[in-house]
């Protein structure tokens, strides 16, 4: 617990009933921004807009050449997607896949998009548009980290970002996905999970369950503890917002923290620091 206190010490402010720990590190992903406590270790992130997988990372010399070399025997063509954009189509199994990269102010913005044969031009146009609409800064748009795609919102957007606790097997995830109908299932059916746990001879205890509003969005927070025979007991904290159908700015949102029950204080400390910090990023 001492470590957790050190990690998450900060200025506590009150906002809309939520105690906020003012976090210096903020991560912008998709249509949201969230504070990240010191000490959480970034694991991975992914973003998709208009069905195009997209990433932005600091430019690494040689990285693109290495990617091309890794696909050398599968490359079928090298299309032109505009000035300063390198691209190639390759075959992976039966998939025809386009990879492209544009360098923007020290940032490598890359996309991956597949297409049925004969539809390559459509995929190239869509992918080029995504790359063209990248701008540094995350004041608005669909955020990738150092910058954002100023398009949409699309009807098919998704993001996922993962951090690990500094010690042990604790993990925090944040993910969003556009929906056609509100999703009232994900992380919402404790009884089903109790059944699954029971089927394995274990027990599930609901530690707490309540409505909780983050960034003006009314979601459901559930904290459970699961004990299975022969396994270290685990805790899981979830906050689920079901989303609004066909509204890219209001996708389904899931916060998830999980790990061994011994890490519950650290997980809860991270949780209480991160959740109140969630805020929407303006679409434009």
């Amino acid at each position: 617990m001492k470590g957790a206190l050190l990690l998450f010490a900060g200025l506590i402010v009150s906002c809309a009933g939520e105690k906020r720990v003012e976090l210096k590190n903020k991560e912008a992903i998709g249509r949201f921004r969230v504070g990240v406590p010191d000490g959480l270790a970034f694991v991975s992130r992914s973003q998709m807009i208009y069905g195009v997988e997209v990433a932005a990372v600091p430019e690494q010399p040689g990285a693109w050449d290495a990617k091309v070399a890794a696909h050398a025997d599968k490359i079928v063509s090298r299309p032109s997607l505009g000035a300063g954009v390198a691209a190639f189509w390759y075959k992976e199994g039966s998939d025809l896949v386009l990879e492209a990269q544009a360098l923007r102010e020290g940032v490598a913005v890359s996309i991956v998009r597949d297409a049925p044969e004969g539809k390559e031009a459509v995929a190239e146009k869509l992918s080029a548009a995504v790359l063209e609409n990248y701008k540094p800064g995350t004041g608005a748009g669909f955020c990738l980290g150092p910058g954002a795609i100023h398009m949409g919102p699309s009807l098919s957007e998704s993001v996922r970002i993962i951090w690990d606790l500094p010690a042990g097997a604790g993990r925090v995830e944040f993910s969003t996905q556009t929906v056609t109908e509100p999703d009232n299932k994900t992380f919402m059916d404790v009884e089903e999970e109790r059944g699954m746990t029971g089927a394995a001879g274990g027990t599930l205890t609901v530690l707490s369950e309540r409505d909780r509003t983050l960034a003006g969005l009314n979601g459901r927070e559930i904290r459970i503890r699961v004990a299975l025979p022969g396994q270290e007991p685990q805790v899981r904290l979830t906050w689920h917002y079901p989303g609004v159908g066909r509204d890219g700015a209001k996708p389904r949102i899931d916060f998830l923290a999980k790990g061994p029950a011994a890490l519950q204080p650290q997980l809860e400390a991270a949780w209480e620091a991160m959740l109140p910090s969630l805020e929407s990023v303006p679409v434009k």
């Binding site: 069905g51 992976e92 699954m196």
Partner: protein, 507 residues
């Protein structure tokens, strides 16, 4: 010191030439190894990303992509968001990827050894029984090493059969190195493993290397249960274990996996399938007892599986023409990427690029080709020495029934363990066809009519059998275990007689 000689068990009646009469000779009878090779059902094999040892993770997903270990299930299916998109990423890959047989491989040692590591731990209960069994008189002539052969169940069953055929070769070679004498194995299959075993035997050239095949709860002609689960998830009315429950409790979760892998589609009813009442049509939609839909008439591929299961009617259409009773709702195949209609021009481009339905049709064609080869119109191919056990007295989907009701409010087509197909009738009324719980006889997954698909009269004792048992834990059932051991014994006796016929003499 006596001079030592080895004689194969099946040559003890032959003269031993060249023995000096003044010497003492010790003759050791060399026993024949008959490996007992267990072939698990779908999802009974642990799968990992190639190039890894199954440990660690990449891009936030575990390198071990499928395991039935409780800890893995807890971490990756219960403690993860675990929706259709997540499951698709686990088994098929990123949204731009479609089924690729090289995406996953069996999580086993290299070389695989006895193969036990690669399969579901629950199977070990029965495998240990086999390993510890006292075969009595048969032990004088034979030894029975126990192997398991897991396979990539996402792939074409033909590929799994080819893999099994090769493993049979290598197991025989290995056993021969140890015992000096091994020519054939006995296969023991569970569920989909029966299809894989028959494929190895009848389509992949392994028949001559197999003494016989013991089948347990094989979906010989497929199961409407596979359709039911793709519509509604794994059902909760039987006592399902963690594994089955973790597979998904609604149609979107199950379709995101099963609709994207040819292996899963092979479990659907084939063209020979008949319901327990003997009728060909196993999708039945009724309104007040009146049959509105009865499919298939002859070919479930054309009449059900290739129809897009659009669950909402087109606006203004009266009566509507959406075939909600088709197998797959296209929007469930790649849920993370598929754009609904009516977006901006870039959404429309994304929709134009969507190939998930075409990919599904391609995977379906793979399953159909296997069905057509393994179960031609003349009947299911099978090894000449076959014994089969069928589970009964558990509610199973031998038919899939939907009952039509008025639909007053807009509701979810995919509630947990249910499905609702919406349509507008000729009178312009909004209606819904509601999926009914399975009510036929079987093992909870495979209906009796399909389970007995390879049964035949006048087989040697213990013969084919029907037992009151559930599908997944079939080999944990004591009566099933006893029957399987008797079936193996019968096959070993067959092997004995095959070798000893000229000389005669009972074992």
């Amino acid at each position: 010191m006596p001079k030592k000689h080895q004689v194969d068990w099946n040559k003890v009646d032959e003269f031993l030439a060249g023995l000096e009469t003044k010497e003492t000779h010790e003759i050791e009878v060399r026993r024949e190894a008959i490996p007992l090779v267990f072939v698990p059902g779908i999802m009974g094999t642990h799968l990992r990303r190639p190039g890894t040892n199954g440990e660690g993770e990449a891009d936030g997903f575990p390198n071990l992509r499928w395991s039935t270990a409780t800890g893995w299930m807890l971490s990756n299916l219960i403690f993860a968001s675990s929706d259709g998109a997540y499951r698709r990423r686990l088994i098929v890959g990123k949204p731009h990827q479609t089924f690729n047989p090289e995406f996953l491989e069996v999580d086993e040692d290299s070389p695989p050894g006895d193969g036990w590591r690669g399969i579901m731990e629950d199977y070990h209960i029965f495998l240990n029984k086999l390993r510890e069994h006292d075969w009595k008189e048969l032990d004088k002539y034979f030894v029975f090493p126990v192997y398991a052969v897991g396979y990539n169940w996402t792939d074409d069953v033909k590929a799994a059969g080819t893999y099994l055929a090769k493993r049979i070769d290598s197991i025989i070679e290995e056993a021969r190195k140890i015992t000096g004498l091994c020519e054939k194995v006995i296969l023991i299959s569970h569920s989909m493993g029966g299809l894989v075993s028959r494929t190895a035997s009848e389509l992949c050239g392994a028949r001559e290397n197999i003494v016989g095949i013991v089948h347990g709860v094989q979906p010989v002609n497929g199961s409407p249960g596979a359709y039911w689960r793709m519509k509604a998830g794994f059902e909760g009315f039987n006592s399902l274990g963690l594994v089955q429950r973790a597979l998904g409790n609604d149609g979107p979760k199950v379709t995101a996996i099963m609709g994207n892998i040819p292996g899963g589609l092979t479990l659907l009813p084939n063209k020979l399938y008949k319901a327990n009442d003997g009728k060909a049509e196993w999708v039945r939609v009724t309104e007040d007892g009146r049959l509105l839909v009865a499919e298939p008439q002859t070919n479930p591929y054309d009449e059900i599986y290739r129809r897009k299961a659009v669950v909402h009617p087109k606006a203004g259409e009266k009566p509507s023409t959406n075939e909600y009773w088709g197998l797959v709702d296209p929007v469930l195949l790649n849920p993370e990427k598929t754009a609904p209609e009516g977006g901006d021009p870039f959404d429309e481009m994304n929709a134009e690029l969507d190939k998930s339905w075409d990919v599904y049709l391609k995977n379906l064609a793979i399953a159909e080709a296997l069905h057509d080869q393994l179960s031609p119109s003349t009947g299911p191919l099978q090894h000449p020495q076959t014994l089969a056990a069928t589970g009964i007295q558990h509610k199973s989907a031998d038919v899939v029934e939907m009952h039509v009701e008025s639909n007053w409010i807009r509701s979810d087509p995919y509630p947990n363990q249910c499905f609702r197909g919406f349509f507008v009738n000729a009178a312009g009324k909004d209606m819904q066809a509601v999926l009914q719980d399975p009510a036929g006889d079987g093992d909870g997954t495979v209906p009796t009519s399909s389970g007995v698909g390879v049964d035949a009269p006048n087989r040697p004792a213990p013969g084919d059998i029907k037992l009151r048992m559930e599908h997944q834990p079939a080999y944990e059932n004591k009566l099933m275990q006893e029957w399987a051991i008797k079936a193996i014994t019968a096959m070993v006796k067959h092997r004995y007689w095959e070798q000893r016929k000229p000389a005669g003499g009972a074992p």
